[in-house]
Symmetry: C2
């Protein structure tokens, strides 16, 4: 493994291609690099100039007085492989390559990129890029980048009065967006540690940098910007590592839309991938998805300010001096899925003594301008924070004037020391710089967006729950050796498309729908006998891999009772099947008990090209497709994850007491999902898709019935053809 330490913390840096023309990128990168007090040596390397921006230049890395740790290669793409080779030869241990014109451009560029990879490997060099915007190590004042956001004139690298002691690192595939996080965070006084951009990720990718930083242990919150993920397994590993460490990963995947995904493909040669699959992976690992810069920075700010003081639940107390702004925040909290409960009587009584008659202590606690003028923000917030009815507090302020808060500072500090709940400040006016400083000094994050403030509290509460679930001792899953072997053998000898009876036999090995399997028969008499044995109304279904749409072709008969009826139906469905597909190979007719009524759901497993098999659940019925109400998770899932997935459906309330129905057996549904996901995980190499549609979930204690099932094998020409024929 190459040494990222040499890349991010070099003792000396050479800029190969440095120029004196500060209008161009090659001049800018050298100018910016030199404008900060980096303690190490910086050498310009230029084939044409004897000096660059007043600094003596060297003709090549070989001519440098010492072998540098890091080379920045900003020369035309065609020259990059040779320069990198030269670096390797003289013992340079790391390189970043801002130059463009590689895999994102053409096949010729892709060849150059492959040369880079080979050279990096040969010399065990840590190589970032190409087609990136460099990086910044704020702690070392090292900024090899041409990003305008790092212009010296834009402001200092670190705030004078930072919020807390925690540090944020940005790791971004996009250079422009990566540095934009740092730039846009300036008014917030957050302390950054690294901004690393990764571009085409020929060698090092996002996960490598995050892994290094997690090991280093100096980054408290990550902001990640992805276009695609190069090595999914590596990414999942660092996601889990971060979750165990309690270091939140705040993430944005771009290229989620059709035009966005088209653009990703064209500019970094990455596959945009399915947004839903990415989201499922983020959710699994407690990664927090942000919708825009502001929201991601809000969430980062919340975590930085609160450290381990995460809210124990979703109940928020709101203090305000402006009635309208309190309402605004209450709306924002409700929209973020937080509760704003009426406060307990004791807390209200303690507050009421300080309020004018026209104020309100219910929650929002509207102390009015008069009330807050008398007592200050901190005391009201303290009274609310002490209430057992809330898990966090939002104080609504106008941060335009600082004098008032200045006077309140000692009490604000008291409160920050006393409470173990997050206390957030939201200002509805613009804050003055001094106000931000005062609040930061007292340890409070100041939000300017109500939505962002509420969303942050919610994200922190969710993160805590998910992490605690994750850290619980894991149920030791049975190794499933026997099941695995048996199902594997059966899969191997199956056709590419397994019709219902075959799919169900296979799934039953894992306990999926093992009751209620039905019987495969080959004559009308057998059908009648099977129906008699079942003892309640049955369905008959012709089984053939060549007839996927059984219902439409008449190859299914439902709700049959009595031997005569069953016999007649047997002949009818078989005749219909033969009429529809004379050449079809028919395996028999499946006789099944009719499922009692219940809530209809769809369960499935589909392979995402990046993330592999994902378990899907959706509400069944005619509207499911139109409303797209499905939830996904990587397989396997445990019971808790399955249960959480069910509640993520927008229409999840149908599973409760709904329209006169008793609550549904979601326990049984979750069990079914667990078993299905284990089957899919064990055989992921062999399976393209599983479709249980519908599954009927009965009332509590009565289980769930699979009504139809289909499995399509992977890597099979036949499967492809069948799939295409539908």
């Amino acid at each position: 493994m190459p040494d990222i330490d040499k890349l991010l913390w070099p003792n000396s840096v050479a800029v190969v291609g440095a120029s004196s023309d500060t209008h161009g990128l090659r001049g800018r990168i050298f100018e910016i690099l030199r404008s900060y007090p980096f303690a190490g040596k910086i050498y310009p390397v230029s084939r044409s100039a004897a000096e660059v921006q007043g600094v003596k230049a060297y003709a090549s890395v070989e001519a440098l007085p010492e072998p540098v740790d890091l080379a920045v290669l900003i020369v035309p793409a065609a020259y990059v492989p040779a320069e990198l080779e030269r670096c390797g030869r003289v013992g340079v241990k790391a390189a970043v390559i801002p130059s463009s014109g590689f895999a994102e451009e053409s096949e010729a560029g892709a060849r150059l990129q492959r040369e880079i990879v080979a050279t990096a490997r040969r010399y065990d060099m840590a190589v970032g890029g190409p087609n990136m915007e460099g990086f910044a190590n704020i702690a070392a004042a090292l900024c090899p980048t041409f990003s305008p956001a790092m212009d010296k004139s834009a402001g200092p690298l670190a705030p004078e009065c930072a919020l807390g002691r925690g540090q944020v690192s940005v790791v971004s595939q996009s250079g422009g967006l990566g540095f934009a996080f740092f730039d846009r965070a300036r008014p917030r006084n957050l302390k950054f540690r690294y901004i690393v951009t990764t571009g085409n990720e020929a060698a090092l990718e996002i996960a490598d940098f995050v892994d290094y930083m997690l090991d280093e242990g100096e980054t408290d919150v990550f902001l990640l910007l992805l276009e695609g993920v190069k090595t999914p397994e590596k990414f999942k590993r660092i996601a889990e590592k971060a979750l165990r460490a309690g270091t939140p990963l705040i993430v944005r995947k771009i290229g989620q839309s059709a035009p966005g995904s088209r653009a990703v493909a064209s500019h970094t040669a990455a596959l945009a991938g399915s947004t839903a699959a990415y989201r499922a992976v983020f959710e699994r690992y407690g990664m927090i998805e942000g919708r825009d810069f502001d929201e991601m920075l809000d969430i980062a700010m919340g975590f930085l300010a609160c450290g381990d003081r995460l809210p124990a639940g979703r109940r928020v107390g709101i203090c305000t001096a402006s009635g309208g702004a309190g309402v605004w925040m209450a709306d924002a909290c409700a929209a973020a899925g937080l509760d704003v409960p009426v406060l307990d009587d004791a807390t209200r009584a303690a507050i009421d003594v300080h309020l004018p008659a026209y104020a309100s202590s219910q929650n929002p606690v509207d102390s009015t301008a008069q009330g807050v003028q008398k007592l200050g923000y901190a005391r009201f917030a303290q009274l609310v924070a002490r209430s057992l009815a809330v898990d966090g507090v939002v104080v609504v302020i106008t941060a335009r004037r600082s004098a008032f808060l200045e006077a309140d500072l000692p009490k604000l500090k008291d409160l920050a020391r006393e409470t173990n709940k997050p206390v957030f400040m939201w200002t509805y006016t613009l804050p003055s710089e001094r106000t931000v400083e005062i609040l930061n000094e007292a340890g409070y994050p100041l939000f300017t967006r109500a939505q962002g403030c509420a969303r942050t509290l919610r994200a922190m509460a969710d993160y805590r729950v998910l992490r605690e679930r994750w850290l619980r001792p894991i149920e030791v899953a049975t190794p499933r050796v026997h099941e695995r072997a048996k199902a594997g053998a059966m899969l191997a000898e199956s056709d590419s498309r397994l019709c219902e009876y075959r799919a169900r036999q296979l799934l039953a090995i894992y306990g999926v729908g093992a009751d209620n399997m039905g019987e495969l028969v080959h004559s009308a008499e057998e059908a009648a006998a099977a129906a008699r044995a079942i003892g309640r109304p049955v369905a008959l279904k012709v089984q053939s891999a060549d007839i996927p749409h059984k219902t439409e072709t008449g190859a299914v008969a439902l709700n049959l009772a009595g031997a005569e009826t069953v016999r007649a139906a047997y002949d009818r469905v078989l005749a219909a099947a033969k009429r529809h597909a004379p050449a079809a190979r028919i395996d028999g007719v499946l006789v099944q008990p009719m499922a009692p009524p219940g809530r209809e759901v769809i369960l499935g497993v589909n392979r995402d090209p990046t993330w592999g098999p994902l378990l899907m659940i959706g509400l069944g019925g005619v509207l499911v497709e139109a409303l797209g109400d499905v939830a996904l998770a990587p397989v396997p899932v445990d019971h808790a994850a399955a249960a959480a997935l069910i509640t993520r459906l927008k229409g999840a309330q149908v599973f409760g007491a709904y329209r006169g129905l008793p609550p549904a057996d979601t326990e049984a549904l979750a069990d079914l999902m667990v078993a299905l996901s284990q089957f899919a995980a064990d055989h992921e190499e062999d399976i393209a898709a599983i479709d249980l549609n519908p599954v009927i979930v009965h009332a509590q204690g009565h289980g769930a019935s699979i009504v139809d099932a289909l499995i399509v094998k992977r890597n099979s020409q036949t499967a492809e053809r069948h799939g295409a024929a539908e």
Copy 2:
């Protein structure tokens, strides 16, 4: 009508209750008022002080050297009525009352508030408040308010280099939030005209101020913040007036959540009202709902910058020098419902000649840093803007450095002159002040939020469509004199709850479901005869206002064919009904043809306490309640509005070719909605609710069938009782 002109444009102002203590609100309001160069006289009135903040004070308004135009009353609530009376007597024509302690506090306060109303009426005074935060007339430099956002130290009243010549006015029930709009807009260089806060709206309400400003014609965009609407008819009138004038109303209704609504009730004594109903009214009049300050200001900025240059459609061209930022913007556009089409070949060819090989002209046009360095932003934007494939352009820039844009300024100005499409700038880094100035000078709005930028373009495109629809010559609706009279008479003699046959007779007068009515019978023989006449399978339903849940009680039989079956079913349903409700008055049994299959919808009309009857459409079936996919509109609707309402359903795609079904007859559905809405509008005083559930929409050309119908009359004890019993 009192003269709002005297309130907003007084020649002289008295502050009754002014104080020298600038820590208190009474001192602050006088301090702020005096800190701006208002051209008129400002008098402090104080019972105790001979001078206030160095200015000679007067003991009462009666002692002033002249009768002032405007009095600001900031004395304890109990003294306000007497002070206002005094003002009226000496000829003061307008007053604003910041003091609290009125209807929002107690019944005693409500009595004081009624006294204010009476006095205002008696002297024909324009009175704002009470419980408000004053106002600001920016053009007159008149700021009678204690809002910290208006502190002189916060910045100048008007920007030095404003974006365009247009002006924004804020009218807000909440004082804190109203002035926050102004304060938060400071970095945007928008020109404000008024910020008016209305508080409890004892006399003047939001609509009165908007009406005045529309007549004045100097406000180009309104920002409105509502907690509730005092006079719905007045509000609708100004909404229509603004739409005709082409002056957008950007609106936020707060108190949308349960805790928010609770807080509204407690702090301005307003009824929060139903969010869905407000939204329906906003949509009807093209009012643009914003989710937060930033979004509302973004939209205002877009309209101000573009004037009449609204996008003709939703197709956007994106120019960027950062690949990642281009993807980000493409995602934001797609999320806002905009199209980002691949550009036409001619446009691409014209662009390609300027691009390096690794850049892309597809859209986003990713010119890369090199490309834009060569040609500048303006030329690329110009090439894109000329394409017939787009209706608007977003240019993605980094506004951190201004030098580059400075050089591009002449070409930026050319483009602004040349194009008739909106061209927006979005910066992913923070802008420098100079950049904002440069862009404003050239006439471009600079967005810092991608979502806000995209949402603004979408809002402008929608506004244009809606307004053009509104301005079309209205179809002259038939006056429906006959229908109205006939239905009115029938309603008058009906019970409080009209069961299906009765409801259908009534609705049929308006043509609603006039075919397919079925026949009411009173014997098994009559039932069989009716079924024979219908000639296809029928349903029987017991008709009784006392049996609302027919299906559950067995009082319905479906899909009956043959005289014998029908006769037997008649006896069965009647017996079931009598068993279930022995005392029920039974009107007969309805014999109806079974409706052919189709998409199931629910149509209804419900009365909102503020906005009156609203037409509702929702997708039918078991999931409707869980997914809450319904759309509302005030009645009546015309055909275009009904069609638009259908497309607003999240699951609207079920009406197209869906799952093998042919497209549904949405024309017939819209006709049905129009007729239903006309009925509801004509009889709104008498009807509490109409419920057509389900309505089956058949394939195109085959109409729609009402399968069940219920009408509940208004203001009827019986109706209440029945409603509560369900």
